[in-house]
Subunit: 418 residues, 2 copies
Amino acid sequence: MSKAISKKRPLTTDEKAAEAAKRQIKSAEEVLVHVRKLSKLIEREPRIAKGLAALDLPQACREVVDKDAGAVLDEVEAAIYVVASSILRGEGFSYDIPSRAKGNQLYLPELDRIVLKDSTSQRPFASTSTCRKAVFTTRVLGLVHELCMKQIHVTKRDLFYTDVKLFEDQGNSDAILDDVACFLGCTRSSLHVVASEKGVVVGRLTYREDGDLIDCQRMGVGGKAIPPNVDKVTDIQSDALFILLVEKDAAFMRLAEDRFYNTYPCIILTAKGQPDVASRLFLRKLRDTLRIPVLALVDSDPYGLKILSVYMKGSMNMSYDSSNLTTPDIKWLGVRPSDLDRFNIPQQCRLPMTDEDIRTGKRLLEEDFIQANAEWVKELEIMISSKVKAEIQALSSFGFQYLSQVYLPLKLQEGDWI
Amino acid sequence: MSKAISKKRPLTTDEKAAEAAKRQIKSAEEVLVHVRKLSKLIEREPRIAKGLAALDLPQACREVVDKDAGAVLDEVEAAIYVVASSILRGEGFSYDIPSRAKGNQLYLPELDRIVLKDSTSQRPFASTSTCRKAVFTTRVLGLVHELCMKQIHVTKRDLFYTDVKLFEDQGNSDAILDDVACFLGCTRSSLHVVASEKGVVVGRLTYREDGDLIDCQRMGVGGKAIPPNVDKVTDIQSDALFILLVEKDAAFMRLAEDRFYNTYPCIILTAKGQPDVASRLFLRKLRDTLRIPVLALVDSDPYGLKILSVYMKGSMNMSYDSSNLTTPDIKWLGVRPSDLDRFNIPQQCRLPMTDEDIRTGKRLLEEDFIQANAEWVKELEIMISSKVKAEIQALSSFGFQYLSQVYLPLKLQEGDWI
């Protein structure tokens, strides 16, 4: 049954307030005026995929790039050729591995992200302290070669299990895999080792995935699962004006069921909490290809901001690959601490922050990506001083569809992002 | 680049063994002979959607059924009519709520699942001990009425947030929601309150989701996200011979990338670990509509079996809805404890069971759904006495594609499920 059942009941006070707010919303075209302006600005900007080479840096820095299977095979073979010649010369062998330690990381304000400096460490086979690591490295190079030859993708767990005898612990093969990515100068996904998928997407987007044409506007209410191997995503096309990045599954579901993207042309994406590598790569790829703004809808708490920071700045651990994983210019649409009063969120839907929340909030306040934006600082200060947080779902107190029918349209109409 | 790159290297011993095993695999048609036989058997069986009414039980039992929005509205209005008349008679009001306590649960061997007996408890408004619950119940009835009128779906969290002042804790609204489902005699999804989605599906399956035609054979490598509201899934069509239920994301990825379903016509489904309600409802719906066997690929450990038990028997908490959530006749394809020796899984890929694993294994051995199948008992006894477990990924020790190219085809060819 798709026809709404027509029975009437009187509205509650909260619903009346929501109805009043709803009357402020103009036509979809008028609502989208500010978004269109933002899109224009972004189109005119230089591409965010700015590389290290474009900068005139005083010191050498290192960043990995996406390479195709053939190029990775060449890199592996070149590395093994060096090893083999060294052995034939009677000199044994050693790998010169870039250091991924904190001391070798550098925040580059020009790129607004963390990159690796150029220090490396020797990993000779003929040393008791590095012998095992040298063997692990050789084995991982061999396995990566096999994956690229067969053109298949596996998980880190699969890689570990191909030689449990040798690696003993998955921590060993995982660490060596990141070393090998740095060593070969390519991204971990270029090595055909992928993360498991968690994200879903719906909206005004079509693309090809391993050849199949995917139309995200015809994905029902559940959406399309974001593939673990983003290099199989090609032919991205869209008439969306913006990407709506949603922290929570529940909000995604509401927007998908209400087909929010039909009225306000957008692509809706969620990684269901802490973002996985595949979702981050996918967002970045969409952003680079389509050059449209990314607006974020997260909980009004330090954890929501931490999630934004992972999308925007990446994690320390993967800093060698920050150029492919991060989407720097995400706009914070909501739910912002100042929204709580502005939208009269009932006191009961505001939750007290724990001591840990407040500590996390204060730490975030120190971080570059917050400091870089005075408005973000102001919002975070409101959060910390008021000591209250709120989830996206707090908006449900005005009715189940308040999010899709009132809150988001009003936010867009007013261009209320920072 | 989709063409495999043609460089040769010598095979390892493990890979030679895998090649030898691969040579045993006959044509796809021959591999599928046993599956076809099983399908025929299942087609001839009476539908598993056997209701309580069909049984001549000595005592009254209670089970909920799926109802459409109109029917739920009628139930809610009838309940409120009773309440209103009682108030107008000056008698206040009370709800007669079915008990969901353990003492009111009954395992029915005829149905091979747990149902509720018919004891109920009064929930009068005019009693200090039940006053709040009576109010919660009234409020949830009102919210469900709204959802069914608007024909929208929300999560349990959304429901809680519509009246935080009243419910105070989500535990309160969650418990009342299950009470209301029992009280109205319908499933929780009929109330338009859904779980968040986690599962994905690929393979020989088409269906309509909220009107959109979904072709799971054209879903690339990431698959289609299973929708949270399974009642929006209609028009299920498939030429698959079986459903392959996979515990882990990584195995799903391998099979999806290798397009396993092209050679062996099947539907591949995973809930990525512990199954959520949406995936269980979806599996059951596929099974009922298509009447094809469900073969399970889980880790060879007690946790893998526990996951099977949730698909097959459901959880105690949702026993009032066991008839819609469970798929009783799942076949255990692998990885079974006896496979470890049979397929020569290297010792290093076998993990020692912890004391907790062994305790869980022993508890499982007592359970009806294991006891009902002598072969399952035997396998579980092998696991407990050998004290070793293994993950699906242990098969990667013979090469990354051993699972899709050797293990599964051999298992199918031999009809090796129990």
